[in-house]
């Protein structure tokens, strides 16, 4: 074990689920904490201000974790500050690495989103038609500023260079622990890598037909979980539930398939894959027993890009 390392944690545009996953380390946290000197954890855990981080010398922090994606100017700014201050920067979780669920907003324009949020919903009462502005004058004299709401959601790699990526929504706590241990022990792969096993969910999934000595077959029908109870023993994909386990990294230990929920891809693509959704298309469509079946897959863009739309080749819906 090395001596104490300095750690900073920034939550960019996420839901704080990743923060929870770190906290959930529970006992592992006890092993890790003594080695950590947490200098910044905002806005959730520690009472440290942005300006405090800005004031720290560049490259003074050994390890920075950023969770969440970039939607606001503030998030971009702070991520850039993190990059300057940290020697190594890790994108923690699906949002930071791929854009995550908030990234599905890239199917819509900023205008659509504002219209929905500030005008169209039944509960909205906005007769003056006020929408967020980056600057406004209160009482005619106090100038207030708000961060800009960008046109698109982006993963943090779109604004800074990221040394390591991890998937998961949120990342499984045991996996977070393992990643931290790897950092502490200096067992790090070359920068740009995923701090993951690199293997698919199928590799660890007990439903994998191969583990039972069975051959995989072509998919003969398409089903949805709402339509019935999947057989606990059988491979979900084989049964027609569109499970993305084969295309997704399995550091989660196949928890979702374990409880009858098809994998939705939060673990991110297998390293080397250019585009998660397209790989899913390449793999799964070919496995359909006939060409009509693929038409039964509902809204492929939202299914295959649930966690990765902003990092897809096209970046989101072309508008």
């Amino acid at each position: 074990m090395p001596e104490k390392i300095k750690l900073a944690y920034l939550l960019a545009g996420g839901c704080a689920g990743c923060d929870m996953a770190v906290v959930d380390l529970s006992e592992t946290l006890l092993d890790v904490l003594p080695h950590l000197d947490i200098v910044f954890w905002a806005p959730t855990v520690a009472d440290v201000k942005y300006k405090d981080l800005e004031a720290m010398p560049d490259k003074s922090i050994d390890l920075g974790l950023v969770s969440g994606m970039i939607r606001l100017a503030e998030q971009e700014h702070m991520t850039r500050v993190m990059r300057r201050k940290c020697k190594a920067l890790v994108a923690l979780g699906a949002c930071a690495s791929l854009g995550g669920i908030p990234g599905m907003a890239n199917m819509h324009t900023k205008k659509d989103i504002f219209d929905t949020a500030y005008f169209d919903t039944y509960s909205t009462d906005n007769p003056e038609g006020i929408t967020p502005q980056t600057k406004c004058l209160v009482d005619g004299k106090y100038e207030l500023t708000l961060p800009e709401f960008y046109e698109n959601v982006r993963p943090i790699s779109a604004v800074v260079e990221v040394d390591y990526f991890t998937g998961g929504c949120p990342p499984h706590h045991s996996f977070v622990g393992a990643a931290l241990m790897a950092v502490l022990e200096g067992k790090l792969p070359p920068p740009g890598s995923w701090l993951t096993s690199g293997k698919a969910v199928c590799d660890v999934c007990s439903r994998n037909p191969g583990l039972k000595g069975q051959e995989r077959e072509l998919i003969k029908e398409v089903r949805r979980v709402v339509d019935g109870q999947p057989d606990q023993e059988k491979c979900l994909l084989q049964e027609g539930y569109i499970c993305l386990g084969a295309v997704t990294q399995g550091d989660c230990n196949a928890q979702c398939p374990g409880v009858n929920i098809p994998c939705r891809g939060c673990g991110g693509p297998i390293p080397g894959v250019k585009d998660f959704g397209l790989r899913a298309v390449s793999a799964i469509a070919a496995s359909m027993a006939d060409e009509k079946l693929v038409d039964q897959i509902d809204c492929p863009a939202k299914l295959f890009y649930r966690y990765s739309l902003p990092s897809s080749i096209l970046g989101g819906k072309l508008k």
């Binding site: 698919a200 994998n208 037909p209 051959e215 995989r216 072509l218 084969a246 297998i270 080397g272 070919a286």
Partner: protein
């Protein structure tokens, strides 16, 4: 390692240089990443052209080669050989197709064609930079051949190969060998009797120790590739034990079931139990279940009924007369026949043609019995035909006084076949001549579009026919009307007289087109070879590889490839047998190393690839308690379906890796109007 790619741009005489600015392209090539040298030559495939490549390799200037010339489908092997000769792995080679897919297609658009050549070369270079050496593989060749179709083409191909000492399986779906030629009366241009020249050949194939006849059989499935084709053959059910049958014909005489006689083109009937024709080889009887009437309640596979009076079993007439026990209806016969596999090194397809029936040509009153096809007329004229060679018209058996032939029926016709059937002019002349020679008082008219007689001694034949008094009218017949009684009125337009003409005829013979035999497309599909737009099997190259198909080891002969007369069919069948013998003689053949491989370190064992492989080349392997995919290289054909589907990018298709394709995409899109964009 930075590659040193050499780019060699071919002028192909004027073929490329006439439409592509070669000098500009060569200059441009030198600016591409990884390119060490770029050269041009008039004919890159010529020996001096190849020498340029060899010298650069030997001098160490070049370790990857891009040739920008014609299509790799014909010329890749030539250049690969040059690389090999110079000591470079032959798969460090890529072609840019700037002739067939560029200069020819964009002739007249020099700017566009030049820019495209630059893009195609950039794409080839991008791929070449990423090429890896591959090792050529060889497969041992099974020293036998399957010949599909036992007409005159198939029989000669079989005899040639058998004569060289190779085992030949000669398959035909009919009960007898002989094909269409067996139906002909005489053959042009010598007027030999068809049976006289064909029957000895039929006997020869039957007796040859190296030939095994598989008549009344069909190709059910074909697997494998050159050297090792595994063919599933289905021998159709004859319901007669051919080991016991002597072909005496007693059962045929006794049989009471009747149907149209296909050998006589439906002009008369045959029995349900029949021998294909008198000279059939093998001469064996076949029971056609569809027309069998199950005499005496004797159904196939059922015990005989017992005569209530005598207590004896009631035998069907065929069983009663069969002296050898070949005909035993009580046996359980599988109506599907019997399937078995054979292994062969090469395959020749000589499945022939069929003459179109008359029915589609409503304007020629096909409902009249006196409107017949020329193939039917051939049977009427034949001594073995329905009239024993007497010239009778079908409606009333009277000898026709006036006969009209109509050419190009279904040929050169966009509603049927756009091609010229090539042999009709000559066979009409032949049939007309046979009639006129035997019955000089008969008036014979032939209505042509163009008389086409381009063959040895054909024009002389035509002249002789005219001297006999056969009347030739240039002008396609527009209608055949049925007159009261059995007469017919032929209406044409005489182009030379510039006037409409009519002719009252007793018999009208339609020179219907030769068309692909039924099921040819299906057979092609089983073999993996394609049919051309006209429906016949397609050769690799009309001039240079006329008997080769797109599948190595499968060759074509005779009318399966397109309409031909007998001399041409025989020539081509002997060419095919020679081509098919090459791999058999060599004993082993090289196969492309473009197969898929799995990086088991990357494989997650999801198994997605396993059911996708059409060759069952991928299987599950267990490694350290984990499931991983494994590929049997010998079974892999290199389609790349598995590589494209692998979620973990663990499978790579050698020669077409994703990195190489992405590099090509990059190159094609970053070169716009002739130069790199900023």
């Amino acid at each position: 390692m930075v590659s040193k790619t050499g780019v060699y741009v071919c002028h192909c005489g004027e073929n490329i240089a006439g439409s592509v600015d070669v000098a500009k392209v060569v200059n441009y090539s030198t600016t591409l990443p990884g390119v060490s040298v770029s050269r041009e030559y008039l004919f890159m495939c010529s020996d001096p052209g190849q020498e340029l490549i060899r010298k650069d390799i030997e001098a160490g200037i070049v370790d990857r080669v891009v040739v920008a010339a014609c299509t790799p489908r014909t010329h890749e092997p030539i250049f690969r050989k040059a690389l090999e000769d110079a000591g470079l792995n032959q798969y460090l080679f890529e072609m840019a197709n700037i002739r067939d897919q560029d200069s020819w297609a964009h002739w007249g658009d020099k700017e566009g064609a030049t820019q495209k050549a630059q893009r195609l070369i950039a794409s080839a270079v991008a791929k070449a930079n990423l090429l890896q050496p591959l090792q050529q593989r060889y497969v041992e060749v099974e020293k036998s051949t399957l010949v599909v179709g036992a007409g005159v083409s198939g029989m000669f191909a079989a005899l040639d190969l058998a004569g060289m000492g190779y085992k030949v399986w000669l398959l035909d779906r009919n009960p007898s060998v002989g094909g269409n030629m067996a139906k002909l009366d005489k053959t042009f241009p010598t007027n030999d009797c068809s049976a006289c020249i064909l029957t000895p050949v039929m006997v020869q194939v039957a007796n040859h120790p190296n030939i095994e006849l598989l008549t009344y059989s069909e190709v059910e499935a074909v697997n494998g590739s050159i050297g090792n084709f595994n063919v599933t053959v289905r021998k159709k059910q004859t319901y007669i034990d051919w080991d016991k049958c002597t072909g005496c014909g007693d059962c045929v005489t006794a049989c009471l079931g009747k149907t149209d006689n296909e050998f006589n083109e439906g002009l008369d009937s045959r029995k349900a139990l029949y021998i294909a024709f008198p000279q059939a080889v093998p001469k064996r009887a076949v029971l056609d279940q569809d027309s069998c009437i199950n005499c005496a309640g004797s159904h196939i596979g059922k015990e005989h009924k017992i005569n209530a009076k005598s207590g004896e079993p009631m035998l069907a007439p065929c069983e009663k007369v069969c002296k050898t026990g070949a005909c035993d209806r009580t046996l359980a016969h599988d109506s599907g026949g019997e399937s078995f596999d054979i292994n062969v090194g090469t395959i020749i397809v000589a499945s022939g043609y069929q003459a179109m029936p008359k029915e589609p040509f409503k304007e020629y009153s096909p409902d009249s019995p006196n409107v017949i096809t020329c193939m039917q007329l051939e049977r009427i004229l034949s001594a073995t035909g329905p009239t024993d060679g007497e010239f009778h018209r079908p409606s009333d058996g009277q000898k026709p006084k006036t006969v009209a032939f109509i050419s190009c029926v279904g040929s050169r016709d966009k509603n049927h076949h756009v091609y010229c059937s090539k042999v009709c002019c000559m066979y009409m002349l032949k049939e007309a001549r046979l009639i006129k020679e035997k019955y000089p008082e008969t008036e014979v008219y032939i209505f042509f579009i163009d008389v086409r007689t381009p063959g040895k001694d054909f024009e002389e034949y035509y002249n002789y026919c005219r001297e006999l008094g056969i009347k030739i009218v240039r002008g396609r017949v527009g209608a055949v009307d049925q007159l009261p009684g059995d007469g017919l009125r032929v209406r044409a337009y005489d182009v030379d007289m510039d006037t409409p003409v009519t002719l009252e005829a007793d018999l009208v013979a339609l020179a219907t087109a030769m068309e692909p035999s039924a099921g040819l497309a299906d057979l092609g599909r089983k073999l993996g070879i394609t049919c051309g737009s006209e429906g016949f099997l397609k050769e690799v190259h009309t001039k240079l590889y006329p008997v080769e198909t797109s599948v190595k080891g499968i060759y074509i002969a005779g009318c399966a490839q397109g309409p031909k007369d007998i001399p041409e069919s025989v020539s081509q069948s002997r060419a095919a047998s020679s081509a098919a013998a090459v791999p058999l003689t060599a004993g082993r053949v090289p196969v492309e190393p473009f197969s898929s491989s799995v990086d088991q370190e990357k494989c997650s064992g999801c198994g997605i690839c396993v059911p996708l492989c059409p060759y069952s080349a991928i299987s599950r392997e267990e490694i350290d308690g984990k499931v991983r995919a494994g590929i049997e290289i010998a079974l892999c054909a290199g389609c790349g379906v598995c590589a494209a589907a692998c979620p973990s990018l663990a499978i790579t298709l050698q020669g077409f890796t994703a990195d190489q394709i992405f590099a090509q995409i990059d190159a094609l899109t970053s070169v716009a109007g002739g130069g790199p964009i900023d």
